[in-house]
């Protein structure tokens, strides 16, 4: 557990901590952060995946052909891990079918296809402006109903995070945005600092932490100023500028920078009394509580040299990528083949095609030209230089993880704490042999997960098989027992019958004897006569 008072004293003195590793890739932020967030026309069609967060998906509560209002829920569920999705604008539901997903695989997932009617007619939830006098459960329910899950990248349901079972010392608001190119958090902090502050106030009312820290990287001075102005008279909030280094925005790394405390590798920030929220999430919370608006849009950075007009836009959730590319004046001639990266250059992934929609965790679309991000060259052999180990922000040994992942020796990879890898890509960035190290880790991680899943399934099958065998055996024994009892009963009754017969014979013999005796007596009397 961290000592929040000491941490605040240290922060006020300007003392920060360092984590080992990290890299300094070129920022490339000025491509997109010079213009205000653009409000763009609605696309002709929206593809809204029914699951956009970590957890379970709700059941679809609309039908094809139904007209829905902007902000109307499309799914519902009583499962606490389910977060609803909403119609991003008013219109008619044209289909509910699988559609390529915003996932590295592009595997189609269940998606509601919505055709906007152009009116953008809101269906607002009742405003909770007087939230200071409301129960926290009411606010948590609102946050869930508004469909808010972490907008920073992981997509964990916010209402679950905001209901911790352990005491919270401090809330950390993450405005680091350390990945190159991405500027969506930067712009939202500059332009909507007041609403972010409102969101923070709501979180403070719900969670009641001892203190709140807002951390912003020192390459975003305007954002820092804007939030400082917004929080000017609030003693419960400390705003800190953090040196630019990748990946300082990682949850565990940022906590280490601010407090000097390390989150245990199999633990969560709450284990040491911290909770972390992205600035965009705070904005959405204020929207949900104070304006009654469900989460239907987010800021997306459109950037890269192959775009004529890089910028930040308010994109409706479900907007196909092609629509955003048109808005940013995509120039196909600058690319050999269409290549769009969802997320940043370090942790993003190439999308399957341009109909893939924007989802809650889409913070950036990077469209690089030929020189900017050339395709992966053939990797060369590891020369054991050790640069990756120096760059790893989690303090792991990337070489060892690489050998064992490549050789599929997963137990050994796990012994080197493969699961503590945050997949930040710093190791691959510094590798002189251009080994795509993170690829190997991701593959190994999914394999391990797959094996565990199979193991669980086979265990279940074994139990079912054995239960069935036991049942069949019990049935057989019951049947045999029944037969045995029936046979015994038959035998017994036969024995009984047999006795009866003997008795009858004996009786008959006795009767005959008596008769004969009587006859003899008679004859002797007769002869006596």
């Amino acid at each position: 557990m961290i000592d929040v008072e000491q941490v605040i004293t240290q922060l006020n003195q300007g003392q920060l901590f360092e984590y080992s590793g990290g890299v300094h890739p070129p920022q490339q932020k000025s491509l997109s952060n010079t213009t205000p967030i653009n409000t763009i026309p609605e696309p002709e069609v929206l593809y809204i995946p029914v699951k956009q967060h970590i957890g379970t998906q709700g059941s679809i509560c609309v039908t094809v052909g139904q007209h829905v209002a902007k902000g109307e829920a499309l799914t519902q569920s009583s499962n606490p891990f389910a977060v609803p999705v909403h119609a991003s604008t008013s219109g008619t539901i044209r289909a509910i079918t699988p559609h390529p997903s915003a996932h590295p695989s592009g595997i189609p997932e269940m998606t509601v296809t919505l055709e906007p009617d152009g009116h953008a007619q809101w269906q607002l939830m009742p405003l909770l402006s007087d939230y200071m006098h409301l129960e926290r459960i009411t606010l948590l329910e609102r946050i869930c109903q508004a469909g808010i899950s972490g907008l920073g990248g992981a997509g964990f349901p916010t209402h679950l995070k905001s209901n911790p079972q352990k005491p919270v010392e401090c809330i950390i608001i993450n405005g680091i945005e350390c990945e190159p190119y991405i500027t969506s958090d930067d712009r939202i902090m500059r332009e909507h600092a007041w609403q972010i502050k409102q969101g923070i106030d709501i979180l403070r009312h719900i969670i009641k932490p001892k203190h709140i820290i807002i951390a912003i990287e020192d390459n975003k001075p305007q954002a820092l100023d804007a939030l400082k102005t917004a929080c000017l008279e609030d003693n419960g909030i400390t705003i800190t500028s953090v040196p630019t280094k990748y990946p300082s925005g990682g949850e565990k790394q940022l906590i280490q920078v601010l407090t000097g405390a390390e989150v245990p590798h199999d633990g969560l920030p709450i284990d040491i009394g911290c909770l972390m929220y992205n600035v965009g999430t705070c904005f959405a919370i204020a929207d949900a509580v104070l304006h009654g608006k469900a989460l239907v849009q987010r800021v997306v950075t459109l950037t890269g040299q192959a775009l004529g007009h890089p910028q930040n836009v308010w994109a409706l959730l479900g907007t196909p990528i092609s629509h955003l590319l048109n808005i940013a004046e995509y120039e196909p001639s600058k690319q050999q083949a269409q290549k769009v990266i969802m997320g940043g250059p370090m942790m993003g992934f190439t999308v399957a095609n341009d109909t893939v929609p924007v989802v809650k965790i889409t913070n950036c679309l990077l469209v690089p030209d030929k020189q900017e991000l050339p395709d992966i060259e053939d990797e060369r052999a590891c020369i054991r230089c050790g640069l990756c180990a120096e760059a790893c922000p989690a303090g792991l040994l990337p070489q060892q993880l690489f050998w064992h992942s490549k050789a599929k020796e997963y137990d050994k990879a796990q012994a080197y704490n493969l699961d503590a890898c945050i997949e930040c890509g710093a190791c691959a960035y510094v590798c002189p042999s251009e080994i795509p190290l993170v690829h190997y880790y991701r593959k190994a991680k999914t394999d391990i997960k797959h094996i565990a899943l199979e193991k669980e399934k086979s265990e279940k099958a074994r139990v079912r098989f054995e239960t069935r065998q036991a049942r069949l055996l019990a049935d057989k024994q019951a049947r045999e027992e029944k037969h045995r009892l029936a046979a015994e009963a038959r035998k017994k009754s036969m024995d009984n019958k047999g006795n009866d017969a003997k008795d009858k014979i004996a009786a008959a013999l006795a009767r005959a004897k008596a008769k004969r005796a009587a006859a003899q007596n008679n004859s002797s009397t007769d002869s006596d006569k």
Binding site: Q371, T446, R462, R464, F465
Partner: protein, 188 residues
């Protein structure tokens, strides 16, 4: 006299240790052969019988008694490797007589054609088929191990073995296929 004392002490000690051993043999009795359990835990539990034994447990028993470790097609090379590690023998390639390693499949009953004979229900080793006499049957996909045993008994051939489609949860990263590639490194 000394000799007698020594004998007496050793005799008493022997009795005490004997009693402790005897007691612990009863108290800490191991019911089954732990090796069989360990082997069984490595087998895929499809209960398909392709190894020639009526289930995974009997095959585990047979391996413990010295049978070959390469008779399990659903487990494939990964299982053979694990078994070899456990048994301390060299891994062998899968014995082709017992079948070949295949993609994961589950049974699917074309319900319109099902006549409700219950034969597949009796054949299923893990009770993954529900239905009743003269009622339509169906497969509980999550419980089906893809063992194939229900296909042969069906008198109307209405059961198909369908490959399981990958989902975003089960999808495996492929290196260098261009799908989902992460860019890293090339930031200039």
């Amino acid at each position: 006299m000394t000799l007698l004392t020594a004998l007496l002490i050793i005799g008493v000690l022997a009795l005490i240790f004997g009693a402790i051993l005897g007691y612990s043999a009863i108290k800490f009795k191991v019911e089954a052969d732990p090796l069989v359990e360990q082997i069984d835990a490595l087998l895929p539990q499809t209960q398909c019988g392709q190894c020639g034994y009526p289930g995974c447990k009997p095959y585990a028993q047979a391996i413990a008694n010295g049978d070959e470790i390469n008779k399990c097609p659903p487990g494939g090379d990964a299982t053979i490797k694990n078994l070899a590690d456990l048994m301390g023998v060299e891994p062998k390639p899968l014995d082709g007589d017992h079948g070949v390693e295949d993609v994961k499949k589950v049974a699917y009953i074309r319900e319109a054609e099902c006549i409700g004979c219950t034969k597949c229900i009796q054949a299923c080793p893990v009770d993954a088929i529900i239905g009743a006499s003269k009622q339509m049957h169906t497969v509980i996909i999550d419980e089906c191990t893809g063992c194939d045993l229900c296909v042969a008994p069906c008198p109307v051939d209405c059961i198909d073995m369908v490959p399981v489609a990958p989902t975003t949860q089960t999808w495996q990263w492929e290196l260098g296929k261009g799908v989902g590639d992460i860019p890293i490194k090339q930031v200039q």
